[in-house]
Each structure stands twice: as structure tokens, then as C-alpha cells.
């Protein structure tokens, strides 16, 4: 359907980065600090490592089977029925993740900026643009991520840099936190925020040189994890751990506090939120594309386009399920942690099985068109 093998390593890195960085950034400092206190940068770092383990195994699997998607090679490894269960779990997890991401962002927009707009509208708008964009093939998908990359990176860095003048180093110490009890929980929750990386399994079959996929994984994780850590450090140093336990969206508050020199524009949070729509859009695009591509492969459909609108009402209903904002955050936490089983443990198991059964994909048949779209 599509000219295979056009994605470079840099583009793959960017895909990972923008799929991971999304709406989670807004609430990240609050979530982490509630569990990690002043040791949150360290906790974030640990979370990044765990996420990287999952991504590494996924990449290794992808490099081993450079022409198949996870649906196919899991079938080869553990048999059709088990693999179908695994794939269906992945698909439903990512559908739920799409729903929750759009819901969370809708809540943020409505609470912080557009107070009268009904939640349904913001959620539908986000889901619509994601599903419209997901009808394209993988190459255009990569172009989209590539294009929006600077729009995500620079505002985040700008906010971090501009807020440093209000920073207070004391808030960052002690480095490992005053209380260590919840650090493990915090690590898991942070790792759950990286789950967008699963899209990489769709990208590897289209990379120009799949053997270099690991480099993309490493840099992608470093970039996104690094940004997370920077934001946590910035919020922590400006607000202090106790205040962060009170503020629901510290990153937004950070944006509220910065003002461009010369006071041209004050209160930048509305502008920041608007720009952040691109980050959330890229994340939504990734998870949604993942869902429909894997689904179309599972059912051996010719292409994925019709699924893009077909699944939309389902995802929308899922997004509307949580009753209120606190309930939503509880659900996100639970789903995120369970998801770690799927995104970290499952690839690990598959890889071990692949090693044991000594299975490999068709490395030489590079022009294998039917299974690579």
C-alpha cells in the first residue's frame, strides 16, 4: 500500500519522543511529588529506566523480526490463540489509553481555559483530529511527528528556563526525599507515563535500517525522560514539595508565572495550553494509530482506514466513563500500572521465548510488501 522503508533513525527518535510527551506533562510534577517528595527527580529517572527496559525489549524483538508487526511475530512465538489474547489486550489497552488521554486533556482545557464548554466537545474535537490524521500511512504519520517536534520541545524548554529565576535550590534537597516509602509506587507511575513508546513496534518495519533501531530507542527515551526530569526539577524548585502536593497541574502554574520580558504578554498559560495541544495531538495520534493498525492486522484487513472512524464512538464512550476528575485520575493510575504489565513484561517474555526457541524473522526479504503496511 505504501512505499516501505523510508523512516530514518532521527525520525524514529522523534516519533518516540512526541508519542511519550503529551498530556502527562501537565500533572506529572504533582503525581510524582505526592509519592516521591523532594526525591522526585530521582524517582523520575528510575521510572525512565524501567520504561527503557520495556522499550529495549520491544526494539530487540523488532530488530529480530524486521518485517513483522507484533501481532505476527507474537503468533509465531507463542501460538495463535495466546498471541491473539495478547494482541487484543494490547489493543484494548491502547484504546483505553487514547480515551483517557483525551479525557484528561479535555478536563485540563475546561478547568483552566474554556470554562463553559461542555467536556464532550473538547474530547470529541481532539479525537476527531486524531482519527482524521490516523487515516494516513506510516510515512505521513512520521512526517506529522517530525513537523510538530519543535513546537513541543521549545515551549517546554522555554517554560523551564524562564521559571528558573524563581527557583529555590533548597526545595530540591534532600535528593532522595524525606520519605522513601512511596518511591516504588512513584517509579511505577512515572514509567506508566512513558507508554506511548509502544508505537515503535509499528515504526520498526518501516525504518530504513532496522538494525539501528536501538539508537532511536535510547535517544528517544533519553530525550523524553530528560524533559520529564527537567520539568519536575523546575516545578519542584519553584514551588516546593508541599505546594506541589496541593497544585493539580503545576506545569500550567509554571506557565502562568512566567511572563515574557517587557511584559508584552503576561499569563502565558492559555498560550502554553494552546501550543500543548500539538503535544497531546501527537500522543493521541500515536495511540490511536497503534490501536487501529494492530486491529487491522489482527483481522487481516487490507487497510486500516475504515477502522479510524469506526472506533471513534467506542473510544469516545470510554472517555466519558469516569465520573469526575478525581475518579479519572484514580483510573489513570490503575490502568497505567496494569499497562506496565503489557508494555514491559510482555515484550520481555516474548523476547525470552524468541531466544529460547531460536526464532527469527525473515531478515533478507526486505521487499516483503504484504505484511509491512
Amino acid at each position: 500500500m505504501e512505499y516501505p522503508r523510508q523512516i530514518t533513525v532521527i525520525q524514529a527518535t522523534i516519533v518516540i519522543f512526541s508519542s511519550v510527551i503529551g498530556v502527562g506533562v501537565l500533572a506529572l510534577p504533582h503525581i510524582v511529588v505526592t509519592m516521591g517528595d523532594t526525591g522526585s527527580p530521582f524517582v523520575t529517572f528510575l521510572g525512565m529506566c524501567i520504561a527503557f527496559i520495556g522499550l529495549a525489549f520491544l526494539t530487540l524483538l523488532g530488530m529480530r523480526f524486521p518485517n513483522d508487526s507484533i501481532v505476527h511475530y507474537s503468533e509465531k512465538l507463542i501460538g495463535k490463540w495466546l498471541a491473539s489474547i495478547g494482541s487484543i489486550t494490547i489493543i484494548s489497552f491502547y484504546a483505553i489509553l487514547t480515551a483517557l488521554t483525551s479525557r484528561e486533556f479535555g478536563e485540563v482545557v475546561i478547568t483552566a481555559v474554556l470554562r463553559e464548554t461542555p467536556l464532550e466537545v473538547t474530547v470529541i474535537v481532539m479525537l476527531l483530529i486524531a482519527s482524521l490524521a490516523s487515516r494516513n500511512g506510516i510515512t505521513v504519520f512520521t512526517y506529522i511527528h517530525h513537523f510538530y517536534f519543535p513546537f513541543i520541545l521549545f515551549p517546554a524548554l522555554l517554560i523551564v528556563v524562564l521559571s528558573l529565576k524563581n527557583a529555590n535550590i533548597l526545595y530540591l534537597q534532600p535528593i532522595f526525599g524525606n520519605t522513601q516509602e512511596n518511591m516504588l509506587q512513584g517509579t511505577l507511575t512515572v514509567a506508566a507515563l512513558f507508554q506511548g513508546y509502544f508505537i515503535f513496534t509499528l515504526v520498526i518495519p518501516h525504518m530504513r535500517r532496522p538494525e539501528r533501531a536501538m539508537i532511536a530507542s535510547i535517544f528517544g527515551t533519553l530525550l523524553s525522560g530528560g524533559l520529564y526530569i527537567l520539568i519536575v526539577i523546575a516545578s519542584l524548585s519553584v514551588f516546593g514539595p508541599e505546594e506541589l502536593k496541593v497544585l493539580l497541574w503545576p506545569t500550567l502554574e509554571l506557565a502562568k508565572m512566567t511572563s515574557l520580558p517587557g511584559q508584552i504578554l503576561e499569563r502565558l498559560d492559555a498560550a502554553f495550553l494552546a501550543i500543548w495541544v500539538t503535544a497531546v495531538f501527537t500522543t493521541l495520534l500515536s495511540t490511536y494509530t497503534l490501536t487501529i493498525h494492530l486491529l487491522s492486522k489482527l483481522f487481516r484487513l487490507r487497510d486500516h482506514k475504515m477502522l479510524s472512524f469506526f472506533l471513534l464512538p467506542l473510544v469516545f464512550v470510554l472517555a466519558m466513563l469516569p465520573k469526575n476528575i478525581l475518579h479519572m485520575y484514580e483510573v489513570i493510575e490503575i490502568v497505567g500500572r496494569l499497562g506496565l504489565l503489557i508494555t514491559v513484561v510482555y515484550p520481555l517474555l516474548l523476547f525470552v521465548i524468541a531466544l529460547v526457541r531460536k526464532k527469527r524473522g525473515d531478515v533478507n526479504v526486505k521487499k516483503n510488501k504484504e505484511q509491512t503496511s
Binding site: 478547568t111 481555559v113 461542555p118 470529541i124 482524521l132 524563581n166 533548597l170 508541599e242 511572563s259 499569563r267
Partner: protein, 408 residues
């Protein structure tokens, strides 16, 4: 099976047509002239009589209101059109009309008061441009947590707004009509900002207030102002808090001491000192401040040592005292710190008596000595206790760099 609609755009258009009616409302569109932009708020304590009960948020006999105190809220609303940007054009009836509109309302809580206010006004109250909130001392002494709660949950309020404590009634401030600016709120704001730039006041807005309020090892402080004649506002010190209740105020020059200990730049206070042995007076202005803080735990009690370095210029000296050589300056540098140490320590003692650690020593302990903190302290109340007894050594060093345009 599926009926194929031929063209792809047609499919997309169909989806849009189906979804569009749901999206066609403009829910949040409030035109700028429909908003009542509140520039300043003043909060006072008051008693609400039976007859005055507005019953907008509750019924007369509801017991919920007993939990809260009573507030009188005065707001300053900008009137569209009366604040011309350029040189005042002829239209608008001349300078008699005030560019702002002052309103008062009473309520049991902040939210209650604002709701009562909204009942009376035609436009929607918009707090996005709220720059300054004046709280009377009475209210501050009772506790600012409730007020803070309302303002925090409201997403329009900016964390960069000023929160100041006033000696008299806050409503007087909001009603003030000063000469220098057209709008009182801007005047208040400008006073605060200018003071920060001159180095006379720490850059402390409502955001930092809340941050320090939340942190366990530090108590918050706010600018403390007084109203002078002709509606001028004078900054008369810092109000320091224990938890969220005000427990005392410093004098203006003590702000300088405070900023010295906290290493807040630029420096700006001019200090009039008598030079011992010579009985002359000298005024110097601090330009830069640096400080080093060390807290050690000895015998289970933290000991604090503060080293303050102040760089300054000499701005005035009395008639006979000639500053001719370096030796004279060095002499000054030797002699004056003794005085300073006493004064600084006095400030610290005052706050210690009140149990209000505005310097943040507690945060320092929590950060650098976490084990001690985790075992001995853990809570804010315990730290306030410890702080009262904590010995603090202050050592001030002066460096005078310049003496102005005069040669001696």
C-alpha cells in the same frame, strides 16, 4: 456489505455534518466589554447584620455560615472606555469621571461575597487582571487560609498578583484616588513593583506566599502597608505569619535586614548610622547583598550561623566627617558592623518570639539534615517550637565601594 461512497472528501464531509451541530455553540465567548475586569480587591472583617443577609448562596437559617467569619469585600472594577491609552482625548467628558468603579459587598466567605457582588453587576466578573489584593490586618491576624482557598481554585487568578496587608481598613486602599496614576490599583501595583526594583521589598507575590505557606520549614511574610495623607501608600514593613495567621510586623528598615539575610538583590536601603569614636553620622546605601547560611546540629538543637556581606555606597556624611582616604573607609567598615549585628539579631529575635520562621531556616534543616528532620521534627508546629529556642549568630561585613560625586 458496505456501500461504497465514491469520493473520499464526501465521506469526510458527512462525518463533519453529523458532528457539527454539537460543536456549533460558542460557550465560552465572552466579549471583552462584557466582562467586569476587577483590578483590585480589598478584604475587611465585618459583622453581617440579620437584615443584610443576601441569601444568594444560602438560606437565612443555614448553619453552614457559622463556620466562616464575615468579610466585607471592596472591588475596583475598570470601566471600559474611561481608561484611554493615549493622551486623554477630549471625548469622555474630561477628567472628572473616574476610570474605575468601586463596589462593596458582604459575605460569609470570599466566594459568598463575590457571588453577592455578581448579583448586582450586569457584566460577568473577571478576575484575570486582578493585580492586587489588600487584606486588612484584622483579617490577616485571623488567618488567610480561607481566602487563599477560593483564590487558588479559581483558574483566572494569577499567581503573580500582589497580596498585601494593610494597617487600616482595606476598603480605604481600594477607594483611594492618588495623584500619580489614573487608577488606584495600578498605583498600588506600581508602588510594589517599584519597591522591588529599588531593592526595598522582596519580590513576594501571592504565589510565593502560598508556596511558603505549604512548606513545612518556612513561614510566609507579606508586605505591610500604611495609608498616609492624600491617599499615598507607605510600605511600613513586612508582616510575618505563623502558619496562616499574622503575628507581627517589622519596621521598614528591617525589611532591609531581612533581605540581607535572605540574599535578595538589588539592595536599596539607605542606613543612617553614627560612627562611634567620632560622633558623626554617615548614610550609606546598600547596593548588593550576599549571604551564607550554615546550620549545624549540636546537642540535638540546630545552631545557625549567618554571614552577610553588604556592598554599598556612601551617600551622605555629616559636615565634619571627611572621607578622604581608604583608611577612613576601612575604619567605617570595621566599626559599623558591630551595630549591624545587633540590629540584625534584633530582627531575628522578634520573629523567634513570635515563632515565625520567615527566613526559611527550617527548610534548610529539612534539606541538609534530612535524618534530623525526619526523626526530630517532621511537622511544622514542632519546627516552630524549635525555632523559638534556636541560637542564631549573625555576622555582617560591609564593603564600601563608592562615595558619590564628591571627592572627599
Amino acid at each position: 456489505m458496505s456501500k461504497k461512497i465514491r469520493s473520499k472528501p464526501l465521506k469526510v464531509v458527512c462525518i463533519f455534518i453529523i458532528v457539527l451541530p454539537f460543536l456549533s455553540g460558542c460557550w465560552d465567548r465572552i466579549e471583552i466589554e462584557e466582562r467586569a475586569t476587577v483590578l483590585a480587591i480589598g478584604i475587611d472583617k465585618t459583622e453581617i447584620e440579620e437584615e443584610e443577609e443576601e441569601m444568594v448562596t444560602h438560606l437565612k437559617d443555614d448553619s453552614a455560615k457559622e463556620k466562616y467569619g464575615d468579610y466585607k469585600v471592596t472591588v475596583q472594577i475598570a470601566v471600559p472606555g474611561r481608561l484611554p491609552l493615549g493622551p486623554g482625548t477630549g471625548m469622555g467628558g474630561g477628567g472628572d469621571e473616574r476610570p474605575v468603579w468601586i463596589l462593596e459587598s458582604k459575605g460569609h466567605t470570599m466566594s459568598d461575597a463575590i457571588t453577592n457582588l455578581q448579583q448586582e453587576i450586569s457584566s460577568r466578573i473577571f478576575l484575570g487582571h486582578l493585580r492586587i489584593i489588600v487584606v486588612s490586618e484584622e483579617v490577616a491576624r485571623e488567618g488567610l487560609r480561607e481566602i487563599g482557598d477560593y483564590l487558588r481554585r479559581n483558574s483566572e487568578v494569577r499567581r503573580a498578583a500582589w497580596l498585601i496587608v494593610s494597617k487600616e481598613d482595606a476598603s480605604k486602599y481600594v477607594k483611594a484616588q492618588p495623584e500619580l496614576e489614573r487608577v488606584a490599583a495600578i498605583y498600588l501595583l506600581a508602588t510594589m513593583d517599584q519597591a522591588v526594583r529599588l531593592g526595598k521589598l522582596p519580590n513576594n507575590f501571592i504565589g510565593t506566599f502560598w508556596s511558603t505557606l505549604s512548606s513545612k520549614g518556612q513561614d510566609p511574610y507579606l508586605p505591610y502597608v500604611e495609608l498616609k495623607k492624600e491617599d499615598n501608600i507607605k510600605i511600613s514593613g513586612l508582616a510575618y505569619f505563623k502558619n496562616d495567621q499574622m503575628v507581627g510586623a517589622t519596621t521598614p528598615i528591617q525589611i532591609g535586614h531581612f533581605m540581607g539575610i535572605m540574599q535578595m538583590n538589588p539592595g536599596g536601603y539607605k542606613v543612617l548610622v553614627t560612627v562611634p569614636d567620632v560622633n558623626e553620622t554617615v548614610v550609606f546605601e546598600s547596593v548588593q547583598r550576599k549571604s551564607k547560611l550554615r546550620i549545624d546540629i549540636k546537642d540535638g538543637i540546630p545552631h545557625a550561623r549567618v554571614q552577610v556581606y553588604i556592598e554599598g555606597d556612601i551617600t551622605e556624611s555629616s559636615n565634619d566627617y571627611k572621607i578622604t582616604t581608604t583608611k577612613v573607609i576601612e575604619q567605617l567598615e570595621d566599626v559599623l558592623p558591630k551595630d549591624a549585628n545587633v540590629r540584625y539579631s534584633k530582627l531575628v529575635k522578634e520573629t523567634q518570639e513570635a515563632g515565625s520562621d520567615i527566613f526559611g531556616f527550617g527548610e534548610y534543616v529539612r534539606a541538609k539534615h534530612p535524618t534530623y528532620w525526619n526523626t526530630q521534627v517532621k511537622t511544622r508546629e514542632r519546627w516552630n517550637e524549635l525555632y523559638k529556642e534556636m541560637p542564631v549568630d549573625i555576622n555582617v561585613t560591609y564593603n564600601f565601594r563608592r562615595i558619590g560625586m564628591k571627592a572627599r
